[in-house]
């Protein structure tokens, strides 16, 4: 799968210390990571910004460091953490932390924008260490101020970026399990991508395992990591192994590397998540063509549908599709309702033939025989796959005002036995 003509994907790996940004468009074979300096393979951008004293201009990366060293600027770090906690900077009390993060993101985004600007972006995908409600809210706010529409934004964690990266490689590289060792912080984390080839599309998931930090001594470090690799490979059929994080730099891997490369393809790089985020955007847009589908705790687990009529035909209209990130589900539609004041929501797991129906009673709505009312339905999903439905009887414009009654329902995600 490749981006179609006119499509432009952006992947931003946003961390508290570092940020990496990539873009992917139809003329590219694979996503390209961009740094602050063209032609230099230095992609990591400190999530920090420097405000030049007197003129109040903002600078990133090396320029920012130079300004700080020269004593000409106010250097602000850990921008994500400050914005999340709404914690003011000691060095700069006038600027709000969210405003500073926005300036930083604007500058980062500028590195990968298409000619048409923000409007030309198909998907802008943020890859985070962890997706939390607070981070989602913050990034939605940022995205809006950056000029991104709701459907241009995708927020996911690094596990999903790893999944998207792995399944976008040639099939032989993910025929079986795929391992990723991440030594970015707090020791080594193993991520294992597995998929079920018996389902269509193949349901994929990523599990994680945390190992401790390695010894500082290069020899011991190699021995310890070799053990971790051996333990991780044991009992698994593995197609490929990826290494990411600054901990793997320095050329200390000897035995461990040969262990990784024995019978598997091994890859090492620092921009897997940012590139994976680009791929994730493309997979989202072209989900119909994708061989796999990914599930995790921040995704909807089941389809929710309305049984609607068109002429003499009846069909199920999806109001929420399984596999969507909760923050993505913000939808509205209008329906005509007749006969009984009840709205049935059909819930079904992907691939399952069984469905359960949740009947929503619209108390106080009176429908006479042959009469229809027009309802405006707003749909959102919150944590724990909780479906929020708001319904309003809107009538028929100037012909009939409708009752104006409103109903709100919360439907918990449930297991279908």
């Amino acid at each position: 799968m490749r981006p179609a003509e006119g499509e432009w994907y952006i992947g931003i790996e946003l961390g508290n210390r570092w940020t990496l940004v990539s873009c992917y468009q139809y003329q590219m074979k694979e996503p390209e990571t961009r740094g602050l300096q063209a032609g230099v393979e230095q992609y990591k951008i400190p999530t920090a910004i420097c405000k030049k004293k007197s003129i109040g201009q903002w600078y990133l990366g090396e320029e920012a460091k130079r300004m700080l060293d020269a004593g000409n600027g106010i250097y602000l770090e850990n921008l994500l953490e400050h914005a999340l906690e709404d914690q003011k900077f000691q060095e700069e009390e006038i600027c709000l932390p969210k405003d500073v993060l926005l300036i930083f993101l604007k500058k980062v985004l500028r590195l990968v924008l298409p000619a048409q600007g923000v409007k030309g972006i198909t998907k802008c995908v943020f890859s985070l260490e962890q997706v939390t409600a607070a981070q989602t809210k913050l990034l939605e706010e940022m995205a809006e101020q950056l000029g991104l529409q709701h459907d241009q934004l995708l927020i996911q964690d690094h596990r999903e970026s790893f999944y998207a990266y792995a399944v976008s490689q040639p099939k032989e590289l993910w025929l079986h399990d795929v391992l990723l060792f991440d030594d970015t912080k707090d020791g080594i984390q193993l991520q294992v991508l597995t998929h079920n080839p018996k389902t269509i599309p193949q349901v994929a998931k990523v599990t994680t395992q945390q190992f401790g930090t390695l010894s500082k001594d290069a020899l011991l470090q190699d021995q310890e990591f070799t053990k971790i690799v051996q333990e991780s490979l044991k009992g698994r059929i593995v197609s490929s192994v990826y290494l990411t994080g600054e901990g793997f730099e320095g050329g200390w891997m000897k035995d461990s590397l040969s262990c990784i490369c024995r019978g598997h393809r091994g890859f090492q790089g620092q921009n897997l998540y940012t590139r994976g985020a680009c791929y994730a955007g493309m997979l989202e847009v072209h989900q119909q063509e994708a061989a796999t589908v990914y599930f995790c705790e921040y995704k909807t687990k089941m389809h929710r549908m309305l049984k609607v009529t068109k002429g003499e035909k009846e069909y199920l209209y999806p109001i929420v599709e399984a596999g969507k990130n909760f923050h993505e589900v913000k939808k509205s539609c209008k329906v005509l309702l007749a006969q009984e004041p009840v709205l049935d929501i059909w819930m079904q797991y992907p691939g399952s033939k069984e469905a359960v129906i949740e009947s929503l009673q619209l108390e106080g709505l009176h429908l006479e025989e042959g009469q229809r009312c027009q309802l405006f339905i707003e749909i959102a999903v919150q944590a724990q796959d909780m479906l929020i439905i708001k319904i309003t009887d809107i009538g028929f414009g100037s012909l009939s005002s409708g009752s104006g009654k409103k109903w709100e329902f919360e439907i918990e995600g449930r297991d279908i036995s």
């Binding site: 309305l306 049984k307 609607v308 009529t309 068109k310 002429g311 003499e312 209209y317 539609c333 209008k334 329906v335 005509l336 309702l337 007749a338 006969q339 009984e340 004041p341 009840v342 709205l343 049935d344 042959g370 229809r372 027009q374 028929f396 414009g397 100037s398 012909l399 009939s400």
Partner: protein
Amino acid sequence: MSKLWLCEGKTAEEPFWLEEEEIRIATMEELCYYLYQNIEIIEEAFFCESLFLWIEQELDQRLLAQKLRQGMEQKKSSFWYIGTILTESGYMTLEELRGIQEIAVRFDTKNSLERGKLRADRMMKHKKYKKAITEYRKLLKTAKEDGVLEKETAPIWHNMGTGYARQMLFAQGAECFEKAYQLGQQEESRRSYLISYACAKGEKTENTNLECMEKIQELQQKKQSMSHSEYEQYTYRILEQLGAEYLKSE
């Protein structure tokens, strides 16, 4: 079991404006709602090029507009247009569409005076009294010009009386009921006349039978014991009942 239809159509940037009724139609759903509520009222003249152009450009329904234009060339009836739009919208059940066909067949067997009356009666049913009265007046004029026997216009006079009475215009209502009774000699017209007259004048009339006398006395008592609005509601209910009975007896 409830039934649902998804509203997928576009909302018009420029709504279709029905000047006479001061109504704006902005979506296919609203157009269908209007047509279905006014099946027997809408005349062929409603289906004109400006409506087809609006359907084509504002609702993006090119094929439907084409079909309607073809119908215009073939001089189709208003029921054909209504049926075509409602069928294409997908918002009607087969049963409802059959119901429209039945009304169309019923209309075809009637002469122009009867059709006109059915339309006006339908307006009454939808509480469009002023419009219905205008329609009844037009029908009476046409009937006179066409040399229709006056006796045959008695139901029109009666229904017109009901239209006035339902707007609390009892004096005009009484006049119409009186004319209806003179021409048709129907007991319902006489009773309605007496009640309307009593409401208008608040006094007894000659030639009233016992049942009517009781009704008038009852009304007088109610008038004294009730507030003005309660009294109006009460008389309105009685007239509604009489109207319904009369329509049934047709």
